[in-house]
């Protein structure tokens, strides 16, 4: 009898454990602008969803398209790239290169079945802390609506 009870209990437990989908977003933020904005948004106690895991880079152009592809392949539901506004790159022209790469990457992704909203490029200066919080909130909600990407499923069937 005791065994049955345990089984029943664990069945109930599993049923309760169905948690709603929380998107996992990787954010590559440039050190000079968007990362500084995220820092200040934190010290200013701005509220935004905790779904973005931030990776600080020196410039948005440091983000090689292979980083983004690998993020999706290994389980990310969305990728956010944050850089300085065009014309304000600390390294003069880095973000123009990023703009071209992300535009081309989005075209490539549309052919591979990755929805457009899963990859987002935003120019957020160090002072635009409200924009930073809004972008994170908006992107999290959009990716939540799209559901899990779960790219690993594509590796399974032969």
């Amino acid at each position: 009898m005791a065994d049955t009870t345990t089984t029943e209990k664990s069945a109930e437990h599993t049923a309760e454990k169905v948690v709603p989908f929380e998107p996992k977003i990787i954010g590559f933020l440039c050190w000079w602008c968007t990362y500084a904005a995220s820092d200040m948004a934190g010290t200013s106690r701005l509220k935004y969803p905790p779904n973005v895991s931030i990776i600080r880079v020196m410039c948005s152009s440091r983000v090689d398209p292979s980083f983004i592809m690998r993020a999706f392949a290994e389980g990310a539901d969305g990728v956010l790239i944050g850089g300085c506004h065009l014309g304000e790159c600390h390294y003069v022209s880095g973000n123009y290169k990023t703009a071209a790469r992300i535009a081309l990457l989005k075209k490539t992704f549309s052919q591979l079945g990755v929805e457009d909203d899963r990859l987002r490029l935003e120019w957020i200066s160090a002072g635009e802390i409200r924009k930073f919080a809004e972008v994170i909130t908006d992107m999290t909600e959009k990716v939540r609506k799209l559901g899990p990407l779960n790219w690993r499923e594509n590796f399974e069937p032969k």
Binding site: S66, I68, Y96, A100, R101, L105, T108, Q111, G113
Partner: protein, 331 residues
């Protein structure tokens, strides 16, 4: 070349391939006679009749060097890959298809059902009123007939078995094939898992064309570039050339004849995803400081996935078009 004490046992096998790799082995010209004096051929379906049962009868590690060309597209290729791995001392992925998926892996932009629909129902030359599709098993007059199972996704050889060396190219250039054979015969080989026969830099490194720092205004499609400047970098002339993201070793043979590099030698050393690197390179060469202009130029690039992953879909992070998405679309 020094004669080994005993004649080597050499095999060549094709899986999902066009046969071009088999032919490319003859591109070494009269040196094939040297190969003949050094080695006995124990399996080569393209040039002579060999049965799988003969190969199964060989003792393990019987074949000294096995050149495996072609991607893994169905269960037959998978089975033979396992068999040849067991029977070979050195297994080599020869050519783009077995190294990185090659042209057959472009099928990864479609699902198995889409491919069947096109091949067995939709194509203009097909009459198939009974909607017959290949089945893996069929019974006719009490006899059971079998066909290999067609896979959803094209894989490369190293996804299926351990591969000792890789020789890239579609097909590998004469110099690549010959320097690989020399390395194999002399025993002067790099650590397993290495690329042999090809270079370690990018195609740009051995390209004779000159960079003149011209700003790219737009990218041209193949029908638009009749007679490009013979001396200037093709990328600078607005012709998408995969040279910056492709391994050297071919001596820029296409670019020399006025055709842009298509990337058949695969990614450069220490790079996994060739297409991602090409997207990165395009971003760097544009050198525009006008957001709208950048968007316009990029919008003109047709079929970027097919262009940048022409040979390397199985060797990419994302591997294929999303399957779940494809299923939903079909509904």
């Amino acid at each position: 070349m020094e004669q080994p004490k005993e004649k080597l046992k050499l095999g060549v096998y094709w899986a999902a391939s066009c046969g071009g790799c088999d032919i490319s082995m003859l591109e070494i010209g009269e040196k094939i006679l040297t190969v003949d004096s050094l080695a006995d051929i124990v399996l080569w379906p393209c040039i002579a009749d060999f049965k799988y049962k003969d190969v199964r009868a060989y003792p393990d590690k019987y074949i000294d060097v096995m050149f495996f060309n072609g991607a893994i597209r169905n269960s037959e290729a998978e089975e033979i890959a396992h068999l040849l791995r067991a029977k070979s001392k050195i297994l080599i992925a020869y050519g783009s298809c077995s190294y990185e998926g090659g042209i057959p892996a472009l099928a990864n932009f479609y699902s198995k059902q889409e491919i069947f629909d096109r091949a067995y129902h939709e194509s203009q030359s097909t009459v198939n009123a009974d909607r017959i599709e290949p089945k893996t098993k069929h019974t006719e007059n009490g006899y059971e007939l079998y066909l290999p199972e067609f896979w959803e996704t094209v894989r490369m050889l190293s996804d299926i078995v351990d591969v000792d060396y890789f020789i890239p190219g579609c097909p590998p250039a004469e110099k690549t094939t010959w320097s690989a054979i020399e390395a194999l015969v002399s025993g002067n080989l790099p650590p397993t898992g290495s690329i042999i026969g090809a270079g370690n830099k990018s195609v740009c490194d051995e390209c004779p064309r000159e960079r003149k720092e011209t700003k790219i205004k737009r990218f041209k499609r193949p029908h638009e570039y009749v007679a490009p400047d013979p001396d200037q970098c093709l990328l600078e002339q607005g012709i998408i050339c995969l040279g910056p993201a492709t391994r050297s070793g071919c001596e820029a043979r296409c670019i020399d004849s006025g055709m842009p590099c298509r990337g058949c030698y695969g990614p450069c050393a220490d790079v996994y995803d060739q297409g991602a690197k090409m997207i990165s390179a395009i971003g760097s060469v544009l050198e525009s400081e006008d957001g709208e202009e950048i968007q316009r130029v990029i919008d003109e690039i047709m079929d970027p996935a097919g262009l940048f992953y022409r040979f390397s879909m199985s060797h990419s992070y994302l591997l294929r078009r999303r399957l779940v998405g494809a299923k939903e679309e079909m509904k």
